[in-house]
């Protein structure tokens, strides 16, 4: 496996504010192999989303840079598809049209009309949403909307799939369903994924590596934990697995002992 499919090197970013510029990230270095599933975990406000947005090209790093397959990332593009936390479906388009819009942007020249239709339907069936092709997002539940959001990204056949807390707004059962779907799809397609999460179980269950971030300002990568659990993984079996629980504990220890939540720190100080 080629190690440096995506390379984040020496990335730092400063945001302009009223007074002093705010330094959100500093010295972020990470190399990701093709087909790897990476989770970014850390407390709120530690700059996880900022890292993701820099990879997506939505933010521009103040220093350092991102290289994807030998090309520098300098603008957003369909080769780095983003799954947003709140699905970000266009509410005036149906499920089918939402995915079609993305497919047409990417494959306008290379696919015929029928191929485009088949490809849209194929991707919606991957996320088990082929029963609601002509519904509007407002008629769907939160979990279904997120499935469509994922289908839209998969349909673009991106080099990188960037997921910004994709299951954060969902209830626990729906989240578990979607995690299973995502693992199944990942098994099939072997996408390279960066996912932001707050959920330790989710991170351990889905990832090949978990990247743990220190608290901001000037946040950076604290530790990287490799998860050597065989796939396919089953949440019920893993619940009793000592290796799984060991990984879980390591992440928890990082989050709650080494990097105490900045909010609780403030409370103690007061």
């Amino acid at each position: 496996m080629k190690k440096n499919y995506l390379e984040i090197s020496q990335v730092g970013i400063e945001f302009a504010t009223e007074g002093e510029p705010f330094r959100a990230l500093q010295n972020v270095n990470l190399a990701i192999a093709k087909g790897e599933f990476i989770s970014l975990i850390g407390h709120s406000g530690c700059g996880k989303s900022t890292v993701l947005n820099i990879v997506a090209g939505l933010y521009e790093a103040t220093e350092g840079g991102v290289i994807l397959e030998g090309r520098e990332v300098d603008e957003p593009g369909p080769d780095r598809a983003v799954v947003f936390q709140n699905h970000a479906l266009l509410p005036w388009l149906t499920v089918y049209q939402n995915v079609e819009l993305a497919v047409k942007c990417v494959f306008k020249k290379s696919k015929s009309k029928t191929e485009i239709r088949d490809w849209v339907e194929h991707n919606l069936s991957l996320v088990h949403m082929d029963h609601a092709l002509h519904k509007l997002p407002a008629e769907l539940s939160g979990g279904m909307k997120q499935r469509v959001g994922i289908a839209r990204c998969l349909a673009m056949q991106p080099k990188m799939l960037l997921m910004d807390e994709p299951f954060g707004a969902l209830d626990a059962l729906t989240r578990a369903h979607l995690q299973d779907s995502l693992m199944e799809i990942q098994q099939q397609l072997g996408n390279t994924v960066i996912m932001i999460t707050h959920d330790v179980d989710e991170a351990v269950l889905l990832s090949d590596r978990i990247v743990m971030m220190t608290n901001g300002p000037a946040a950076s990568i604290g530790e990287v934990l490799r998860i050597d659990l065989p796939r396919p993984r089953d949440r019920v079996i893993l619940a009793d697995d000592s290796a799984f629980n060991n990984y879980r504990q390591q992440v928890l220890r990082f989050l709650y002992e080494k990097q105490k939540n900045p909010a609780t720190k403030k409370i103690q100080a007061a």
Binding site: A56, G57, L58, E75, P76, G77, P78, R80, A81, V82, F84, N86, A88, L90, P91, W92, L101, A102, C105, V106, L136, A138, M156
Partner: protein
Amino acid sequence: MKAISAISKATQGSELLTVSNLCLLINKTLKTLTLPAVGILVFLLLWQLMANNIITSLGQFPGPSQVWEQSKTLVVEHQRERKKEAAFYERQEKRNAKKLEKNPDATVKIRAYTGKATFVDQIATSLLTVAFGFMIATLVAVPLGIICGLSESAYRCVNPIIQTFKPVSPLAWLPLVTMVVSALYVTNDPIFEKAFLTSAFTVALCCLWPTVVNTIVGVASIDRDLINVSRVLQLGTATHIRKIVIPSAIPMIFTGLRLSLATGWMVLIAAEMLAQNPGLGKFIWDEFQNGSSNSLGRIMAAVLVIGVIGFILDSLMLTLQKRVSWDKQAILR
């Protein structure tokens, strides 16, 4: 036995259903018809009572019954005028036919009827004028609003101008527009009358602003995520505007358009009154100058018609908005 009981149950069920349906229906009619009717009745009563106590130099202030009488007269006058017009053309045709019988080479002419414009004619003129003015305003305001909503710099350039012209009364514009139209619109074969253009442009100048302002707000407040989707997909500017910006700003654009149309309708009546341009405003002014004992009743009839037309125009826009808007859950009123 089982079957019988099932049937009786079913019939009972349906009876219950109809009874509860009836209750619902009564409730609904009470809300949608009866209550507004009560409101209108009380208003008419108060109006009549007040009218009885107001004596003007043109006689008693008209109550609902006098206004009703005058409204009927207005319609009768319109019909009489139409008959006269038809008769006028018939006479001409007969005369021409006779002329041609005598001499097949004779040149015949049809002269246009030049009778007085009736109340109904004036309504038609006003509607046409407001439609034209509103259309011009929309064609300018929506694109301008989209540009200013998308570009902060464009907004900063245009904003002082919008804020300065927004509060200007139509009456201030009117002399300028009149002179400019007279100066610039010189053709031997005019498609539009000058008075029509003057009124329409005055309407356009005044009903531009609500649409511009609301479109800017609508476009500037598009969900960040949707903009990011567009950036990730690398949509071109035209596609971005067509697929993301316009659908997302449609509710605000329509809010603006409805305000604009209401403003335009109000402005038009004032402009017609002041400039003596044909339309309902001129009708009111003429009646006022006429000063007969019926004038106030006729003016009141015009006032009511203006109100009802304004109401209908807004309802039309609302229907259109409901049809165009993607958000079927939104409560529009």
